[in-house]
């Protein structure tokens, strides 16, 4: 697969890169303290942090992956956006943000220190720092690989060029620069993908023709005809839908544990809301982000569904079937771009992909340098230095974060399995985290030692569950069953992931509660004020009209999400 890009397409990419660097250069004059650089000095309006909030998660891997899943599973994929994001985003804005923004914490690990103890923070800060660097490296690797396949660019040069660009703009403008570029990326994705969806839909003969075609696809695959076009109807049993899951695993695993764990406790996204200029802006951030979030499936999942519909139609001139006779799901989106877009808008589409790869890297680098500087360096290595010292460390962390990411990119290129393995370990770490936060924020009796042991036990139980189970047709230990004895075989990898998360969360939840009753609460009520729900005075939103208050926005967002689920039931 090779796309021929013309001079105009390269010109658009060059203009984009110039702007990205220019934004960093202009913002440089605002970067006077470590807080300006690492936390944007809490100064950004809500609509900007709101768009950045969802853009951080709209990396190119996400875009390409969702296109692939749209082709593979149909409308059910939208659950990753609807049930897998909206409720958690509303919960964060309405209930959790007051504690993040209102406490003096500058990061998620720092909140854990204030609420629990140093160990819990250390565990979270170190795993998070490693995870962000690896995520940034994976993004870099994927970009270089895609550009090599699509445009014939040199792999090493792509890695170096993307690292230098990201380093320059985050090094100059810090978190503000990363956030501004995420907003830019959001609009570029819309601009690049709307023409694609429009043309693909027109070629397929409109939505009703796509649906009719997908009925044939589903029937050929041995499912009910509407398995690709309805999101809930076939979740009664794992065998009835191509994802191989049932509704309980979906709601509990994805909708509750994984979704709340990601959107409410991952500093990568929470950092965007914490950069907002006021409490009300911080609370509105995830709520404003939730509105476009609901409709992103039109841009990223729908093209995948159209692609499989066109593939199944004889003589459509488009096919995702690869040279080996099997569907090449992962290349769905690049194939569509090359097939439908002429030079000009093609440049726009390629720039959108490039922008989302780079902001995926930048988001991780800016989260890394904050956690490194405040939660690791200032806490354990050199406390009590001047702010200038920490600003310098912030800059330095940006540089070595980027360099280590490049190392991670080459690691991914050489040892594919190592990357899978590391991602798995981080899934184990993340799965129980939301139980710790839920108890920490809403139950003042939860103690530091209980939280730490609960978190570690939850992480280990995730690993053990994974070691004792397997998805159907597993071929390697990366997929599970490495403890030598398979207790249960899941119908799909996704079902196994969801159940691993459910186990880890439940065990962390139960262990933390049980140990809290048997250990002493070392924090006084005064220390916990502003950190725990029952000890914090309710916020009265003054000067904000009722229709733009977080509670009202939350209700509107939830109602819209429910309506979408009913339409595509």
């Amino acid at each position: 697969m090779h796309i021929h890009a013309g001079v105009i397409d390269y010109a658009i990419m060059a203009i984009y890169v110039t702007f990205v660097l220019g934004i960093g250069w202009v913002l440089k004059r605002n970067m006077k303290t470590s807080a300006d650089f690492l936390t944007s000095g809490k100064s950004i309006p809500a609509w900007i942090t709101g768009l950045a909030f969802i853009s951080t998660n709209l990396g190119a891997l996400e875009v390409i992956g969702m296109g692939a899943s749209g082709a593979k599973y149909g409308v059910t994929t939208c659950h990753f956006y609807w049930i897998g994001a909206i409720p958690a985003m509303v919960f964060l804005g309405v209930f959790m943000m007051p504690f993040y923004y209102g406490s003096k914490a500058r990061s998620v690990p720092e909140y854990l220190k204030l609420r629990f103890n140093e160990k819990t923070r250390g565990f979270n800060a170190i795993t998070f720092a490693i995870m962000t660097i690896l995520a940034s490296g994976i993004s870099m690797f994927a970009m270089a690989k895609l550009m090599q396949i699509l445009l014939g660019w040199d792999f090493n040069l792509s890695i170096l060029a993307s690292a230098v660009i990201v380093l320059v703009y985050t090094g100059l403008g810090g978190l503000t620069s990363a956030i501004y570029n995420e907003v830019l990326q959001f609009f570029l994705i819309v601009a690049g993908f709307v023409p694609l969806v429009f043309l693909a839909l027109k070629d397929a003969g409109g939505w009703s023709s796509v649906q009719a075609r997908l009925h044939v696809v589903a029937a050929n695959a041995g499912y009910a005809p509407d398995a690709w076009t309805r999101s809930w109807a076939h979740l009664g049993s794992p065998a009835a839908n191509p994802m191989g899951i049932n509704w309980f695993a979906l709601v509990m695993g994805l909708g509750f544990v994984l979704s709340f764990g990601y959107w409410c406790t991952n500093f990568l996204v929470v950092q965007r809301a914490m950069a907002a200029k006021s409490m009300s802006a911080a609370r509105s951030t995830p709520l404003i982000g939730a509105i476009p979030k609901m409709f992103i499936p039109i841009l990223v999942i729908l093209p995948g569904m159209i692609a499989i519909a066109l593939t199944s139609r004889q003589g459509s001139g488009f096919s995702i079937i690869g040279a080996d006779g099997k569907p090449d799901y992962n290349n769905t989106i690049p194939l569509m771009l090359g097939h439908f877009l002429p030079s000009g808008v093609l440049g726009l589409g390629l720039t959108a992909l490039m922008a989302s790869f780079m902001s995926g890297m930048a988001g991780n680098v800016t989260a890394f340098n904050t956690v490194w500087t405040y939660d690791i360096y200032q806490s354990y290595i050199r406390p009590g230095q001047s702010d200038k010292h920490y600003l310098r460390m912030g800059h330095f962390a940006t540089i070595f974060g980027t360099i280590v990411s490049m190392g991670a990119a080459y690691l991914a290129a050489n040892f594919n399995n190592i990357m899978d393995f590391l991602q798995l370990i981080f899934a184990f770490v993340n799965a129980p985290l939301f139980a710790t936060f839920l108890l920490g924020m809403f139950w003042k009796r939860a103690t530091g030692n209980a939280a730490f042991i609960g978190l570690v036990t939850g992480t280990f139980s995730a690993a053990i569950h994974h070691g004792l189970t397997q998805p159907a047709g597993a071929t390697s230990f990366i997929k599970g069953g490495w403890l030598g004895h398979v207790v249960y075989t899941y119908p799909s990898e996704m079902a196994q992931n969801f159940w691993t998360a459910i186990f880890a969360w439940s065990i962390c939840f139960v262990v933390t509660i049980a140990l809290s009753f048997t250990t002493r609460q070392k924090k006084s009520d005064e220390e916990l004020t502003g950190l725990v729900y029952s000890l914090t005075p309710r916020i009265k939103e003054t000067g904000v009209p009722w229709y733009s208050q977080p509670g009202t926005l939350g209700v509107i967002v939830v109602a819209a999400a429910v309506a979408l689920n009913i339409i595509f039931w």
Binding site: V183, F187, L199, F340, S343, V345, L348
Partner: protein, 74 residues
């Protein structure tokens, strides 16, 4: 004062929009438009981008002059 993000967004989309529109006008009827089902998608997308970019610039300029009036008004 923070730099208003609407300036760079407006400027980028206006420049790219005009570029794509002009390119679309010069390549009317070119063979490559068979890919986009015979539609000159460049002209249409280019116009939309330019309008969006210009709107962003207008908002940014209006916000800036409002801020300046507020400062001098004191």
């Amino acid at each position: 004062m923070q730099t208003d993000i609407r300036f760079p967004i407006g400027l980028l989309f206006t420049i790219v929009g005009v570029l794509i529109t002009v390119y679309g006008v010069f390549t009317r009827g070119a063979e490559m438009y068979q890919r986009s089902l015979g539609i000159n998608i460049n002209i249409w997308a280019g116009i939309c981008l330019t309008v969006f970019g210009a709107a962003m610039l207008v908002f940014a300029i209006r916000a800036q002059s409002r801020e300046r009036r507020a400062v001098t008004g004191k």
